[in-house]
C-alpha cells in the first residue's frame, strides 16, 4: 500500500517539478522581450507587397565599414550600400582610376573611415532630398552623396582636427555643415608632451560651405578650449543663426578619460552665434592659419574625380569676436544636443545624468543680455545653469543620449543603459511612455525628427548590442535596428531588422522627395572621360612607353575589342571600359585574371578604368562580372602577355560588323548623321 502511494506521490511531484522548471525555463527564454512588445497588427503595418515601394528612404551610417546603407521603411529592406570613405572591391570604388582621388588626404590615400552621422540637406529647416552628408570620424572628413545617383561626389578633409564626430550637422538651408573635434590636439599639430595637454591642446569648430555641389570648403574655424566636442545641432526659427555643440572632458583629462573625464558635475553646451562669426570673419578678425587639407570631387560629365590641395583656413579666436560663443552648463558629460521643431528648446543627453536638462533659447538670450555669467573659460562666458534652464525631465531612465521629435509636442529620448525609448512632453517635461528596446539603444531616428517638420509616423531605434535577436552567426553579429509606430499615445513595436557595420545614426525622408529624381543611366553623349569609347569600332590599344591604354566598350553581350596582343611583362595596362548601353539597370562589370586590386562595375554611359600589371607571360582572360544578359557567360576576352622586348605587335580586334556600322553612319549626310548619333547613341 505504502509503496505505490509513495511512487504516485513521487511521480506527481516529479511531473509538477518538470512543469515548473519548464515554465521557468520558458520564462527565461522569452525574457528576450518577445512577449511584452508584440502588437496584433504589427505585421500588416510593415508589410510591403512584392513590387510595391516603401514609404521612406532611410540612410544608415555603416559605422566602421565606412559606408552608408540605404533601407526602405517600414519594411526594413536593404536597398543599397553607398561607398563613401572605404574602398569597395564590389564596385571598384576607391580602386578604379576614376575614384582613387576621392580618398586622398594629407596622410595619403586613406581607404577606410568610420562613418557616424548621415545628414540630409535642408531647405528652410526641412529635409529636401538633394544631398546626404556624412562624416568620417577617424581622419576627419565630410562627404556629399548626390541623391540623384546615390553616389559620393565630394569629400572634404577637415584640417586642424582629430576625430570628426560632431559632424556634419546642417544649418536650415545647408549654407553650412559643421565639423567639430572630438579629440583636442595641438593646433597646428606638433610634437609636444602629452601631459602638456592643458597648455597646448585645442579644439576647433569648422563651418563648411555646403550649398554648392563640388565647392565645399572651410568657411572658417573657431578655436576652442581643449575639450572634447561631441555632437551638434543648428538652431531654427527663433534660434536660427545659432549652433549648439556638446562638450565633455571639461576636466581636460588626457589619460583614463573613463574616470578622469567624468569628474565635473557639469560640462557644457557651446552656443555659437555663427552669424556673428561670419561678421567677425568679414571684418578681418579671423587670422589666416596654415592648414593642409584636400578637397576631392567628382566631375559630373567625365565622372573622373579630382583632388585639390589647400593650404590655409580662416581661424577665429572667440576672444577676438566677443559674443560669438557662450557655454551653457549641462550635467554630466552631455552627448546629444537636439533642438526641437519650434527652435525654442535645446535638449541635452547627459550620458551619466539622472535628468534630461532642457535649455530655453529665449531664456538664454535674456541671460546673455543680463550678463548672468558664472565664470569665463578662456574668454568664453559661462552662463548660470538656472538662467537658461527651461526644465528637467525627472527620472527619464538611465543613460539618456539622443532626442528626436514628432512635431506634435512630444520628444523621444534614447536610454543606453536602461535600454529603452522614453517619450515625454515638451513644456511639461512629463514622461508619457516607455518602450524597451533590444539592446542598448544609441541614436534613435524619426524621419525629419531633428528638423522643423518631422514626419512623426515611425521611430527607428539603432541598438548597439544584438545578442540573441537573430539566428547566431558566430562571435560577430549584425547590429539590430527596431521600428516603432509612434502615431498613437503609446509606442508600438513593429519590426526588428539587422544592419551591417555599426550604424550610429540614420536619417529618413519620404520616398516621394527622392525617387522621381533617381537617375537611370548616364548619358553617353555627355560622357567627357578622356578615354571614353563611344562606338564599337573606336576601341583600340595604344602604347605610351611602359603604359598601355586599352579603349574598350561593353554592350550586351560582348566587349570590343576582345582580343588584345602586344602587352609585355613590365607594362602597366589601363583597361578603359565604357558601357555604351543607354538602358536602365544594364550594368556591366570587368574582371581580369591576376588583378591585384578589384573589379570595376560600369554603369550605363560611364567609363571606368582598371589598372593591371601582368607579372608573367601568358594568356589572361577577362570577363563581365555583373550578370547582364542571357549570354553574359559569353561576355569575355583574352589579353596576350609577351616577354619584355617581344616583337609581338600591338593588336586589338574590331569586328567587321562594327566597322560597317560606323562606315554607314559616316556615309550619311551631315544632318542624318547627327540624327543617327542621337538615335543609336554611337559614334
Amino acid at each position: 500500500m505504502k509503496r505505490p502511494t509513495s511512487r504516485t506521490t513521487l511521480l506527481v511531484s516529479a511531473t509538477i517539478a518538470a512543469i515548473a522548471i519548464g515554465t521557468l525555463y520558458s520564462c527565461t527564454a522569452s525574457s528576450a522581450g518577445n512577449d511584452n512588445v508584440l502588437v496584433g497588427n504589427a505585421a500588416s503595418k510593415v508589410y510591403v507587397a512584392p513590387g510595391k515601394y516603401d514609404e521612406y528612404y532611410a540612410f544608415f551610417s555603416g559605422g566602421f565599414n565606412g559606408q552608408i546603407m540605404v533601407y526602405g521603411l517600414p519594411s526594413g529592406r536593404l536597398l543599397k550600400f553607398v561607398s563613401v570613405f572605404s574602398q569597395n572591391p564590389e564596385t571598384g570604388y576607391g580602386y578604379n582610376e576614376e575614384t582613387k582621388p576621392m580618398l586622398q588626404t594629407t596622410y595619403g590615400s586613406i581607404p577606410w573611415d568610420d562613418t557616424h552621422h548621415p545628414e540630409l540637406s535642408q531647405t528652410d529647416g526641412v529635409p529636401d532630398g538633394r544631398w546626404l552628408f556624412i562624416n568620417g570620424n577617424n581622419t576627419p572628413r565630410v562627404a556629399r552623396i548626390d541623391l540623384k545617383t546615390f553616389e559620393t561626389t565630394e569629400i572634404l578633409q577637415i584640417p586642424n582636427a582629430a576625430g570628426g564626430h560632431a559632424s556634419p550637422f546642417t544649418t536650415p538651408n545647408t549654407r553650412y555643415i559643421v565639423s567639430a573635434t572630438r579629440f583636442s590636439v595641438p593646433i597646428p599639430n606638433t610634437d609636444v608632451p602629452i601631459d602638456s595637454y592643458k597648455q597646448n591642446f585645442k579644439g576647433t569648430l569648422s563651418f563648411i560651405t555646403a550649398d554648392q555641389p563640388g565647392k565645399m570648403d572651410i568657411a572658417f574655424q573657431i578655436l576652442m578650449p581643449g575639450f572634447n566636442y561631441d555632437l551638434g545641432h543648428a538652431g531654427k526659427g527663433p534660434s536660427d543663426g545659432w549652433f549648439f555643440f556638446t562638450t565633455y572632458n571639461s576636466e581636460q583629462a588626457y589619460q583614463k578619460l573613463e574616470l578622469n573625464a567624468s569628474q565635473n558635475d557639469k560640462d557644457f553646451i557651446a552656443a555659437v552665434n555663427y552669424r556673428q562669426a561670419e561678421q567677425c570673419v568679414a571684418a578681418g578678425k579671423a587670422k589666416s592659419a596654415p592648414a593642409e587639407y584636400f578637397h576631392n570631387f567628382m566631375d559630373e560629365k567625365s565622372r573622373v574625380a579630382r583632388s585639390e590641395r589647400k593650404s590655409s583656413v580662416k581661424m577665429l579666436n572667440p576672444q577676438d569676436c566677443p559674443g560669438v560663443v557662450y557655454y551653457l552648463p549641462t550635467p554630466k558629460s552631455p552627448h546629444g544636443v537636439d533642438v526641437d521643431p519650434t527652435g525654442e528648446y535645446i535638449v541635452a543627453g547627459g550620458k551619466l545624468a539622472t535628468v534630461i536638462p532642457v535649455h530655453s533659447f529665449s531664456k538664454m538670450q535674456k541671460a546673455i543680455a543680463d550678463k548672468q555669467f558664472d565664470a569665463e573659460v578662456q574668454g568664453i562666458p559661462v552662463l548660470k545653469y538656472n538662467s537658461t534652464l527651461a526644465g528637467e525631465v525627472q527620472k527619464p531612465g538611465l543613460g539618456p543620449l539622443h532626442t528626436e521629435f514628432d512635431g506634435k509636442g512630444n520628444a523621444y529620448t534614447s536610454m543606453f543603459i536602461s535600454s529603452e525609448i522614453v517619450k515625454w512632453k515638451l513644456g511639461t517635461w512629463q514622461v508619457l511612455d516607455r518602450m524597451p528596446v533590444y539592446y542598448s539603444v544609441g541614436h534613435l531616428m524619426i524621419p525629419g525628427g531633428d528638423s522643423k517638420k518631422p514626419w512623426g509616423k515611425y521611430l527607428v531605434s539603432l541598438n548597439k548590442i544584438t545578442k540573441d535577436r537573430y539566428l547566431p552567426t558566430g562571435p560577430e553579429l549584425a547590429q539590430s535596428a527596431q521600428l516603432l509606430d509612434i502615431t498613437g499615445d503609446k509606442m508600438k513595436m513593429l519590426l526588428d531588422f539587422p544592419t551591417i557595420g555599426e550604424p550610429h545614426y540614420a536619417q529618413a525622408i519620404p520616398a516621394d522627395l527622392i525617387k522621381g529624381n533617381s537617375l537611370k543611366f548616364y548619358k553617353l553623349a555627355e560622357n567627357s572621360h578622356p578615354f571614353a569609347t563611344k562606338a564599337e569600332a573606336d576601341g583600340g590599344i595604344k602604347r605610351q612607353g611602359k603604359n598601355v591604354h586599352i579603349n574598350m566598350i561593353a554592350i550586351r553581350s560582348h566587349f570590343a575589342p576582345d582580343n588584345l596582343e602586344g602587352v609585355q611583362v613590365g607594362d602597366t595596362v589601363y583597361f578603359h571600359v565604357t558601357n555604351i548601353e543607354q538602358d536602365w539597370d544594364i550594368v556591366h562589370g570587368f574582371g581580369v585574371l591576376g588583378a591585384d586590386n578589384a573589379e570595376v562595375i560600369i554603369a550605363p554611359g560611364e567609363t571606368r578604368t582598371l589598372r593591371w600589371i601582368p607579372k608573367s607571360t601568358g594568356i589572361y582572360p577577362f570577363y563581365c562580372t555583373d550578370f547582364c544578359s542571357a549570354l553574359h557567360q559569353e561576355m569575355q576576352g583574352y589579353v596576350r602577355v609577351s616577354a619584355p622586348g617581344s616583337t609581338v605587335a600591338l593588336k586589338a580586334n574590331v569586328s567587321e560588323r562594327a566597322k560597317s556600322q560606323t562606315a554607314r553612319a559616316q556615309a550619311l549626310p551631315k544632318h542624318d548623321h547627327e540624327a543617327a548619333e542621337a538615335a543609336n547613341g554611337s559614334r
Binding site: I555, R556, S557, E581, Q582, D583, W584, A630, L631, R657, Q661, R664, L668, D672, A675, A676, A678, A679, N680, G681, S682
Partner: protein
C-alpha cells in the same frame, strides 16, 4: 446630324454659282451649275479632312510597344511621317541592341526611303484636298477621296511589308538566338507575343487623325453622291 442639317438647309445660290475660270457647264451641256458642284457640307468635310491631315506632321502615326518580364517599363517606337523614333531618347537603340540577338537588322530611319517621300505625298494630299474644297467639283471630290484612300492603303501595306521584312529576313550568320520556324514580325494592329516580348501596335494620334480625315472624305463622297440623286427633284 450633318445629314439632317443638309436636308434642312436649301442649297444656296452662291454654292451653285460658277467660280471664275471654271465656267465649263455650258460647254458640257449640263442643265444647272449645281449638278457639277457639291454642297456646303461635303465641301466643309473635305476642308476639315485636308486640315486634319496637317496633324500627321506633328504627331506619330503609329506606336509599337514592347514589354517583357525584364522590361516592365517597356520599350516603344513612334512611327512618324518622316522618321522612326524611340518613345524615349534611347528606346530605338535599345530595341536594335536587343534585336541583334535574333539577327534582325537595325531599324535605321535613314535606310527607309518611304520616310523621305511620305511628307511630300501627304503634302500633295493636303494641298489637293484644300483645292478640292475650294473648287468643290463633284468629280474632284470623288477623285481626291479615291487617291487619299489609295495612299492610305498603300501606306499600310508598305508598313506591313517593312514589318514583314524586319521580322523574316534575319541575319542568320550573326544571329545568336536561332529558333527554327520562328519569325519576329510585329502585328500591324493588335498584340502578339514574340519570345519574351509582347509587341503591341496601335495607331497613334497622327494615325487617328489620318483615319478620321479619311472617314470624313468618304462621308463627303457619300453626301455628294446623294446630292446628285436629289438634284433632278429640286430642279
Amino acid at each position: 446630324m450633318a445629314v439632317a442639317n443638309l436636308r434642312a438647309v436649301p442649297v444656296r445660290k452662291e454654292d451653285r454659282a460658277p467660280l471664275p475660270g471654271i465656267g465649263s457647264e455650258a460647254e458640257v451641256g449640263v442643265s444647272t451649275a449645281a449638278s457639277n458642284k457639291v454642297g456646303r457640307t461635303p465641301r466643309l468635310l473635305i476642308l476639315v479632312a485636308a486640315v486634319l491631315m496637317i496633324g500627321v506632321y506633328f504627331f506619330p502615326l503609329w506606336n509599337v510597344r514592347l514589354t517583357a518580364p525584364q522590361y516592365p517599363e517597356g520599350l516603344g517606337m513612334h512611327i512618324r511621317i518622316n522618321t522612326v523614333e524611340g518613345a524615349t531618347e534611347n528606346d530605338l537603340n535599345n530595341i536594335n541592341n536587343l534585336n541583334h540577338y535574333i539577327g534582325m537588322k537595325r531599324i535605321e530611319p535613314e535606310s527607309i526611303p518611304e520616310l523621305r517621300y511620305m511628307p511630300w505625298i501627304v503634302a500633295v494630299v493636303v494641298v489637293t484636298g484644300l483645292a478640292t474644297a475650294v473648287v468643290a467639283r463633284r468629280k474632284l471630290v470623288y477623285a481626291w477621296t479615291a487617291v487619299f484612300l489609295l495612299v492610305a492603303i498603300a501606306g499600310l501595306v508598305d508598313f506591313w511589308k517593312w514589318e514583314y521584312d524586319y521580322g523574316h529576313h534575319l541575319d542568320n550568320e550573326h544571329a545568336v538566338l536561332k529558333i527554327p520556324g520562328m519569325t519576329y514580325q510585329p502585328p500591324l494592329i493588335g498584340a502578339k507575343q514574340l519570345l519574351n516580348f509582347r509587341a503591341t501596335s496601335w495607331p497613334a494620334l497622327g494615325g487617328i487623325l489620318a483615319g478620321l480625315a479619311l472617314a470624313l472624305a468618304v462621308l463627303a463622297v457619300v453626301l455628294a453622291w446623294r446630292e446628285r440623286r436629289r438634284l433632278p427633284a429640286l430642279s
